[in-house]
Every structure is written in structure tokens, then in C-alpha cells.
Amino acid sequence: MNSLWDSRPIRFSTYAAGLLIGAVLWEYFGGKVNPSYGAPLSATAKRFIFLVSNGQLQDAVLGSLQLYFVGFISAVLAASLFGLLMSRLNYLRVGFENYIMLLYATPMIAMVPFIKSVLEIGFAAKFTVVFLFGFFPVLYNTLEGARSVKPEMVEVAKSFRSGEFALWRDLLIPHTVPFILTGIRQGAGRALVGVVAAEFLISSSGLGGLIQDQQGKYSMSGVFASITVLTAMGLLLMWIGRVLENRMAAWRGLNR
């Protein structure tokens, strides 16, 4: 029964049908509702072209991407370095793990007012928000990697007179990288939420700013166009994360 469904033309047409039905529903209901509730696909597409032609959309995407990458890459670097250190120093790991769990479970969005109270409104505050959104998922997963370093492995390495450098290069880093990548995949989505939250709550800029701007102009089509672009960014980042994880973590044989 599977062979028929899996044949290429059937597979292609079922996916295409799904997209088509969605597009038709969007067009129909988007056109029927009150214009302050939504916009049809055609108007959204038209607005998208307009926003591209006057350069607003590109500026917004660039602004958001800049914030995203500066914030998230710093978060990944900081978290993986700290996580690696914890994989070597058991004492450090035991001391920190409960606090990391606590902070991982804290909705970082609630910290925004406090960040605003300390840092002045601007890039530094937004950076901090994105950093915090991305830092803890990576750190939490790296911690799980650190916890699963088997002491026997370190002992074997030691008894073969492995130096500190070789221990890190051949054991700790290869062991921890897959966990870091799981964290990156988890954090990638959260950091994007952080970018939009920072742009909404701290100061208007980037795609979050564009959404607010279009809403202020009562253009639901503009809001929808911005959200669509944001979703495409989210999908792309998720896909990159997954590809990286599958490539680097294949040996774990988990495929989760």
C-alpha cells in the first residue's frame, strides 16, 4: 500500500494539493473578513512587492538578521565554552547545574523590563535579550553532554598519558559537539523569538518594527507579509540547524 503513495507524481501532487488548498483558503477567508482582521493572499503578495520595491523589507530583514547573528553567535560561543569547561571540571558542573536548569526554565521574556532598567534603550539591551534567549538552551544541552562524559573514558585517556590539550581535542570536544548542536537547533528558534520580542518591547526596529509600522498604517497585508518573511527565516534557520546536527551528530545514532 505504500508504494503507490510514495511514487513521485503522487507525492508531488499531494504536497501541491496541500499548498493549493491553503492558498485558496487564505485568499477566500482573508478577503471575506473585516480588513482589520486579515488580508487575502493576493493583497499580501502585492504588499510584499511594494515593501520590497521601497526597500523597507530588505532593511528590516538586514536589521533583524544582524541582531540575531550578533546575539545568537555570542550566546553559542559563550555557552559552548562554559559547557566544555563543565565537562572537564565536575565540581563546576555540579555547582552550576541546578541554577542552569532554573534559568533554562525561566521565560526570558519576563527579564525584558529588568534589562531595560539597567541598560539604556538601544542595541546593547536588544543584544542582551537575544543573548539570553539563545544562551540557556545551548548551555542546558551542553550540560547534558558534560554530564554524560564517562569518567572511564577520561581515565583511559589519562592512563595513555594523554595531555590536557589532547584530552580536549580528542575526547571532550568531539563528545560535546553533538549536544551543542542540539542546543543550537533549540536555541535558533528561541533566539528568533527573542529578536522580535526585543524589537517589540525595547525599541522598534527590524522586522518586529516593520510589523508595528504596518499595523500603525492599518495595513494587515503588510503585517502578514512581514510575518511570512519572518516565518521563512525561522524555517531556514531550523533547517540549517537540523542539517548541521545530522551531519555532525550522526555517530550518536539518535536521529531525533
Partner: protein
């Protein structure tokens, strides 16, 4: 190999604990214990936070810091008792303090209640849609793209749209965001789990001429429990963030998110932080309950990397 492990006979002087001398070694054992490490790190974090905020100077007196938060906890949770009975300064029990306390208590009930209700609905709906997606290829092909796309869509971004639909005064917008945050992560994981139903189970079901819904609800869902739990864990975290985002952006009355913003607006940051503590403990509580139920109901399932 088999006889040696598990026996409790001990050779005197063999273990390190018996070889060490008392006195100096006792101190060393305390310092190197896990509990000590945890307390030490906690003290360091609190001290660094306190000193960092103190060093900002008197212009930043309102910024949240440990000493202030420590005092704010009774002020927000039980101000009447704290001021009239404990401190015996009833004049400090002002209407502002009382109103903040009432909003805080109402906020806990409303935020937590909304998250529980929303997660429950998302769990039921997500499980059903997920199992259908995982077991029926046509459903999967039709919905897969949308589930993934809505999952990848940052939930903050839709708040400005949803608030037009449901308004900001009731909890409608917040409930919609919680459902949005929870439903797709549960559906996605459930579909993955249902797709990965062991083929032997399906063969047996087929041999006994099981009905499709028996396969979906009797086999696919139980077999996918680990996936479902991973989905719930993800959904709970996202729902918590989504609820607070919606509350902050739309000003849902009597909610923890709104409490934080209002107290911060009145420069009562320490009181606002108490709400953050509540949210943290709630997040940890969900995690603990999920871990416990994994051990309780799925003893056969151990997450890789969990160690011991």
C-alpha cells in the same frame, strides 16, 4: 564478573573513605561535596548580582537586586501579615502595596490557569492531529508543511494580529497564543512518534484485523509516548513564554506579565521580580513533573545522555 559485582563484603582499608584521616579530611570532604558546590555557586551568583547592581550608583536604586527582592517577597505575597504583625508598622501597609498584592495573587491564578487549560487543549488536539498525520499519508502530506511553518513562526510576531481578533481585555489573545505555542510542537512530535511506530506492532495488529482507530489510539499513541513527552516539554516552555509575551504586549489585566510591567513602571522592580521567580519555579515545576511521570509511567524509556 558476575559474582563480584553487587556483593557487599568490604575489604577493610580498601575504600578511600576509610583510609583518610579524620579532621582535616572531614573539612575536605565537606568542601568537595556536591551540596557545598551548589551553595557556593549560589552565594557567588547572588553576591555578584548584588555588588554589580550596587556599583551602578544611586541613580539605579530601583534596579532589582537580591537584598531588595528578599524584602519584596513577603511584601508581595503576604503584605498584611508582614507589615502589621511581623514588622508592626501598619502605616507601611499602603493601598498601593495592597493593590499590588491583590494583582499578584490574581495574576498567579489567571496566568497558571490559562497555561494549564491551554496546554490541555493543545495536548488533546495535538495528539489526535499528530497521530492522524503520522499514520495516514494523505493527512501528513496536506498538513505537514503548515505544522512545520507555524511551528517555526515566532509566536511573538502574531500577537499584533491576534489581538485584533480577540481584544486585549479578556484572556482570549493570551489563550490563542498559548494554543499556538503548544499545539504545533505537540503535533509535530506526536506525528514523528506515530511515524516511528515499530512495524512489528503494526504487523500483529494487522494479523488480528485491528480497526484503524485501534491502531491509532491503541498502538500508535502508547508507542509514541516518549515523543509525546518531549513534545509536552517543548510545548510547556513555549506556552509559558507565549503567555507572558501576550500579557505584556496586550496588557491582559490581572496577569503575571502585566504585573511585572506595572510594578516596573512604578519603579518597584524588586516586587516585579518576585513574579519572575514564580514563573521560574513554575517552569521548573513542569520539568520536574514531566521527569517524574517519565520515570513513573515509562520506566522502559531512558533519555540518552541522562546518565545514571
Amino acid at each position: 564478573m558476575t559474582t563480584e559485582t553487587g556483593t557487599t563484603t568490604r575489604i577493610p582499608g580498601a575504600s578511600t573513605a576509610e583510609r583518610v584521616q579524620p579532621g582535616r579530611d572531614l573539612l575536605w570532604r565537606i568542601v568537595s561535596s556536591g551540596i557545598f558546590a551548589k551553595i557556593l555557586v549560589g552565594v557567588v551568583i547572588v553576591t555578584v548580582w548584588q555588588m554589580g547592581m550596587d556599583s551602578l550608583g544611586s541613580n539605579f536604586d530601583y534596579v532589582a537586586r537580591p537584598t531588595g527582592i528578599f524584602e519584596a517577597i513577603p511584601v508581595t505575597i503576604a503584605p498584611e501579615w508582614y507589615f502589621t504583625t511581623f514588622l508592626n508598622t501598619p502605616e507601611a501597609y499602603t493601598p498601593i502595596v495592597q493593590a499590588a498584592h491583590e494583582r499578584f495573587m490574581a495574576g498567579i491564578v489567571s496566568t497558571m490557569g490559562a497555561i494549564f487549560v491551554g496546554l490541555f487543549i493543545a495536548l488533546v488536539a495535538g495528539t489526535i492531529v499528530g497521530v492522524l498525520m503520522g499514520r495516514i499519508k494523505a493527512v501528513d502530506r496536506l498538513l505537514n508543511f503548515y505544522v512545520i511553518a507555524f511551528y517555526a513562526m515566532p509566536m511573538v510576531a502574531i500577537v499584533p494580529v491576534v489581538v485584533n481578533w480577540f481584544g486585549s481585555s479578556g484572556g482570549g489573545t493570551r489563550m490563542a497564543i498559548i494554543l499556538f505555542a503548544g499545539f504545533f510542537s505537540i503535533t509535530l512530535n506526536m506525528a514523528d512518534g506515530a511515524r516511528a511506530t515499530p512495524p512489528e506492532y503494526l504487523d500483529v495488529a494487522k494479523a488480528y484485523r485491528a480497526k484503524p482507530w485501534n491502531v491509532w489510539f491503541g498502538i500508535a499513541i502508547p508507542a509514541a509516548m516518549p515523543y509525546l513527552l518531549a513534545g509536552i516539554r517543548l510545548a510547556a516552555g513555549r506556552a509559558l513564554v507565549g503567555a507572558v509575551i501576550a500579557e505584556m504586549l496586550t496588557g491582559t489585566p490581572n496577569s503575571l506579565g502585566n504585573f511585572i510591567l506595572l510594578e516596573a513602571g512604578n519603579l518597584r522592580y524588586n516586587e516585579a521580580f518576585v513574579a519572575v521567580l514564580v514563573l521560574s519555579f513554575f517552569g521548573v515545576g513542569i520539568e520536574v513533573v514531566l521527569n517524574w511521570s517519565t520515570r513513573m509511567f515509562l520506566p522502559w524509556y531512558r533519555r540518552e545522555g541522562r546518565g545514571q
